[in-house]
């Protein structure tokens, strides 16, 4: 087991006498997608900022691997009228990717035609895609995405989550993501950390969706939505690791592949079904 890219241990941030979030334990390893979920003001962004080293934890600790190359997609990025900045220059903001790397990264998020556009003229969804391209072009060890599909249209949303899953496979990078879309979170995530000022529950998507704390926090509707999602499965994982298929038969694994050997393959399968 290699050293995780980032690790928070009992980490919390205090501001103006109150705790924004506290007692967070989480780690992101290479090739792993960890998603933070939780209501507004539950400390998701604060937690991500601790992991990034932007905020110093008031208690507990935050460790980054040395010389960790991070690609960060913030929640919002406002470009003032006074600043002449086109997409091409924006792609070179903190790193120097080659011309081909820039073009390729923009093509992948479907905004290759915007290379010469002024950043401040982009729509919300276009901006999101450009920011993601910029982070990908850096070839980071750790990708941190704060609500990456904000303002992106529905079909674009699915494409971007597919892209994120592919990037993880291709670069082998770890991904720390904040998302509101519970369906997609459940489908494409290895670890879910559900926050509400503290860690309310964490674990695999399946464990979290079934925990009582999660249901209390998100209400019956969310639990219902997840239940619908669950019903899309053609198999159920039994506690002993075997798999019960929808026709009732029980097998050692759910498909032709051995379950768990390659995390992304089951994600793909789940998304085809859903």
């Amino acid at each position: 087991m290699s050293e995780p890219l980032v690790r928070l241990q009992g980490a919390g941030v205090q501001s103006g006498g109150s705790w924004l979030v506290r007692g967070v334990d989480l780690s992101v390893s290479s090739g792993e997608i960890v998603t933070l979920i939780g209501p507004n003001g539950s400390g998701k962004s604060t937690t991500a900022k601790m992991a990034l080293g932007i905020l110093k934890p008031t208690e507990g600790s935050a460790h980054k691997r040395v010389r960790l190359k991070i690609g960060y997609v913030p929640q919002k990025l406002m470009i003032d009228w006074t600043m002449p900045l086109n997409v091409h220059r924006f792609m070179q903001l903190t790193a120097r990717p080659s011309q081909t790397q820039i073009d390729k990264a923009l093509e992948r998020t479907g905004v290759g035609h915007l290379r010469k556009s002024e950043v401040r003229h982009l729509s919300g969804g276009q901006m999101q895609r450009v920011m993601l391209s910029r982070a990908i072009a850096m070839k980071p060890d750790l990708l941190v995405l704060d609500e990456p599909v904000q303002g992106v249209d529905y079909s674009g949303e699915i494409a971007i989550y597919d892209l994120i899953a592919n990037i993880r496979k291709e670069l082998g990078c770890g991904i720390l993501m904040i998302s509101h879309d519970l369906h997609v979170v459940m489908a494409a995530t290895d670890q879910v950390v559900c926050l509400n000022g503290h860690v309310c529950c964490q674990g695999s998507p399946r464990d979290v969706s079934q925990s009582a704390a999660f249901k209390t926090l998100f209400g019956e509707r969310a639990a219902g939505a997840l239940a619908v999602y669950e019903h899309n499965h053609d198999h159920v994982h039994l506690p002993d690791g075997r798999v019960q298929h929808s026709d009732g038969s029980i097998h050692q694994n759910c498909c032709d592949h051995v379950h768990g050997s390659e995390p992304s393959s089951s994600d793909e399968e789940q998304r085809h079904v859903g």
């Binding site: 006074t82 900045l85 903190t94 790193a95």
Partner: protein, 275 residues
């Protein structure tokens, strides 16, 4: 050549404008005009201090500006006052304190108008050396931190996350601003320094296609304003420092006219209105 006072004024002014251009861009981008004003007003306090302690004026002004800049960085973190109110308070307190201190020193004859509005026609060869040596140092440091400072200007969180050390480059930027104020004080005086920083940068915006481009154009526009202002001052017998600022303002007004070749902004506005 430098024996002619007018040539000395031109050389000094162009040097000052070349340094003020790129720094002015960052002041405009970061909305720090008021901050620049505060530092400039504090420079008057620096002059008073240098006269009192018989120190080198440029170095003392630099020292006082740095102290004020770092104090403001510290105060901003505690956030007891809005930074706007805080700057207004510090800016005018520093100006008033400087004026009071100078008034107390009855034993030195101080050319107050020269300090407030500049005395570019009286610059010496030593002043020119100070402007060019200090100015080159400022530009070299700015070039070294350019990428990191620009990233921190676009988004501090992003810059911090991706190892651009925004806190560190912000402090360096403060030092550079203090240095430019100590240098440019000779050219336009403490009340008009911010104008020399901001007006060329704002005028460059329409023409510029990228941040680096804007910095270079701002320097050129500043130099044109210096030449135009000094020529006008010579012919019309107007004060030199204010004339330079007025020339800059005219260039700015020209830059915002609807030129047919500069459609980028008007075209963009139309698109914004449509959506």
């Amino acid at each position: 050549m430098l024996d002619d006072f007018f040539v000395r004024a031109l050389v000094a002014g162009i040097g000052g404008a070349a340094v003020a251009g790129p720094l002015g861009c960052f002041i405009v981008w970061r909305r720090m005009a008021y901050f620049g004003d505060t530092l400039a007003h504090a420079a008057l306090l620096g002059v008073a201090l240098s006269l009192l302690l018989e120190l080198n004026t440029t170095m003392t002004v630099f020292g006082v500006s740095v102290t004020i800049a770092l104090t403001m960085l510290g105060l901003r973190r505690t956030q007891t006052l809005s930074s706007d109110a805080l700057l207004g308070l510090l800016s005018h307190s520093a100006l008033a304190l400087g004026l009071v201190c100078l008034a107390f020193m009855t034993w030195v004859r101080v050319d107050l108008t020269g300090l407030l509005f500049g005395d570019i026609l009286a610059v010496s060869k030593t002043d020119i050396l100070t402007i060019y040596a200090g100015g080159s140092a400022v530009l070299v440091f700015l070039w070294l931190i350019w990428r990191r400072l620009f990233a921190a200007t676009v988004n501090p969180d992003l810059a911090a996350a991706e190892g651009m050390e925004p806190e560190k480059v912000n402090i360096v930027f403060m030092l550079l601003m203090a240095a430019v104020i100590a240098i440019a004080m000779k050219v336009v005086g403490v009340l008009l320094i911010t104008a020399l920083l901001i007006i060329p940068a704002a005028s460059a915006r329409r023409i510029a296609v990228g941040p680096e481009h804007m910095a270079v154009i701002a320097s050129v526009i500043g130099a044109v304003a210096v030449v135009g202002g000094l020529q006008a001052s010579l012919r019309l017998d107007t004060p030199a420092g204010p004339s330079i600022v007025v020339a800059g303002t005219i260039l700015f007004l020209v830059s915002i006219l609807p030129w047919p070749g500069l459609r980028s902004i008007s075209g963009a506005n139309e698109r914004e209105r449509k959506s």
